[in-house]
Symmetry: C2
Subunit: 104 residues, 2 copies
C-alpha cells in the first residue's frame, strides 16, 4: 500500500465510520424521508439529546447530511442520496447470511 493509497483509504474509512452505528443508520433512514431537527430525532431514538447532537455532528462532518437553521430549529437533511444504496447492500449481506444459516 503506497502512502497515497493509505491516505485514500483513511479518507474512505472516515466516511464509512460515520455509518457504523445503529443510531446513525436510523438517523440516515429517517432523513431520507424528510428533514428533522435534533429534538425530533431524539424522541424517536430515545437517548440523551446531547448524544444525538454528537451523532449528527459526525454525519455532518463526514459530509453525509446538511444542516439549516430555520426559525427556532436546526433542520438536518440527507445530502448524498446514494448512501441509501449502502443500506440496500448491507441488507443484501444480512439476507445472504440468513439464507446460509437456514441452509445448514
Amino acid at each position: 500500500m503506497t502512502q497515497e493509497e493509505k491516505i485514500r483509504y483513511e479518507e474512505m474509512a472516515k466516511v464509512s465510520k460515520a455509518l457504523a452505528h445503529p443510531s446513525r443508520l436510523f438517523i440516515i433512514h429517517k432523513l431520507a424521508e424528510q428533514e428533522y431537527c435534533v429534538q425530533d430525532l431524539t424522541k424517536m431514538i430515545g437517548v440523551d439529546i446531547s448524544t444525538v447532537s454528537k451523532h449528527l455532528a459526525i454525519l455532518h462532518n463526514a459530509g453525509i447530511i446538511a444542516k439549516e437553521k430555520r426559525g427556532n430549529c436546526i433542520y438536518y437533511s440527507l445530502l448524498t442520496k446514494c448512501v441509501l444504496n449502502i443500506f440496500s447492500c448491507v441488507i443484501n449481506v444480512i439476507e445472504a447470511n440468513k439464507e446460509k444459516i437456514n441452509r445448514i
Copy 2:
C-alpha cells in the same frame, strides 16, 4: 425506535462496522480483483500477520468475504459484490466534500 427496529439497525451496524477501517477497505478492494491468502495481503498492507488475520475474521464474520482452504493456504474472496457500490458512494461523498471546500 421499536425493539424490532433496534435489533435491525444493530445488525446493519455490524456489517457497516466491518467496513469502517482503512485496511479492511483495502482488503475488500483487492479481493474484488482476485482471491488472496493472509500472507499475500499482509505483504501488501504491511502490518503484523495476526492483525490481518483478525481483519479478515471480522469481514468473514460479517458475511462479506468467503474463505476456502486449498493446498497449504486459506484463500479469501469477495462474497457480496455489491459492497463495491459502497465504495463508489463513499467516493462520491468525498468528492462532493472537496468540491464544497474548493467553492469556498
